[in-house]
Amino acid sequence: LSRKKTKLDNASIERYCRQLILPEIGVKGQLSLCNSSVLIVGAGGLGCPAAIYLAAAGIGHLGIVDYDAVELGNLHRQVLHSEAGIGHSKSTSISSSVSRLNSSVTCVPYHMQLDSSNAMDLVHKYDIVLDCTDNVATRYLLNDACVLARKPLVSGSALRFEGQLTVYSYEGGPCYRCLYPKPPPPETVTNCSSGGVLGVVPGIIGCFQALEALKIALGISVSFSQKLLLVDGLDGSLRTIKLRPKQPGCAVCGTQPSVKNLIDYEQFCGASATDKCVSLHLL
């Protein structure tokens, strides 16, 4: 996106000194972070913590994709937005919060729906992609785009008191389709609107997404490639699962892929990528 930094200025040394002294980072690692770019798809419960911790650590370029506007009902978990921002673009809202914390980070808001016509161009521009979305169709879309563009995908999800995290298509590991070749029947899919979620659970998962992205940018081994982290906030269980390897028969990352270009994911999943909150009748 721009010229590589080869030297840290004094302001950067002062800003990052507590992480510069970590032997796993040092000046060389900090330069790697400053020269890395991360695309965050979804400016919600996962995207907020992920964006702010990546910006804090000094990832040089962030892109934030979300077509949605801030609503009051988002603020219980989407902590970078504000009451004053209600009605405004979520991606711009995150971008403002990022700039207030670290003006040396270039943060580009993309106020648009990611779809098959625009995903490849966008994904090609970034080194690492974070799946912070909230629907199945966009998850398949983003997976295929990352496989085709050869970008690692750090995927998080949360619902109720539970969260899941894994890194796809990195260092020979599996992709989303290797695990889930067929989309779930639409009637089995629950999103945060209908199932609810405790805000701090995507908070935890979004932090882990930032951590894994930082390790990729630093060239440190990631912890959750071909592994799945399961967090249950209610009973406090934190479990790491060993996943299957990359599948030779996978439709997109296998040896003879049938998916060589992005397809129509709403049709593939039988579900919309833009489910809006259903209104609740509680009382």
Binding site: L46, G47, V136, A158, L159, E162, Q164, Y180, V189, I241
Partner: protein, 115 residues
């Protein structure tokens, strides 16, 4: 790691049945009265093995009260449910053909999509 602690016992305990732990999470527990953990004992009196194929069928007949299609389709779990055998993806151990061992922990997880 919950490797089978006592496979000796599993071979000897045919008359008592095969005891395993079932767990449901990610929302799959909502189909089972919201109970996440079930300790069950499977009948081994006819001497035949219990594989996961047979376990899924047993779950459908014995634990699943309503809307079985949200859990089972075409004699396997429906797309979007991941099966774990002792904290490993069932793909690593033979999927439907894996033969259950005493004290195995079999977990059925619905994939989450929220964010």
């Amino acid at each position: 790691m919950a490797a089978p602690m006592d496979t000796l016992k599993s071979h000897e305990s045919g008359s008592d049945g095969l005891s395993i732990r079932l767990e449901f999470s990610g929302g799959a527990e909502l189909l089972f009265d919201k109970i996440k953990k079930h300790d069950i004992t499977l009948d081994t009196s006819n001497g035949s093995n219990w594989n996961i194929r047979r376990l899924i069928s047993w779950i459908k007949d014995n634990l699943l009260k309503e809307r079985p299609e949200l859990f089972v389709q075409n004699n396997t779990v429906r797309p979007g449910i991941l099966v774990l055998v002792n904290d490993a993806d069932w793909e690593l151990v033979g999927e439907l053909d894996y033969n259950l061992q005493a004290d195995d922990r079999i977990v059925f997880i619905s994939t989450l999509h929220g964010g």
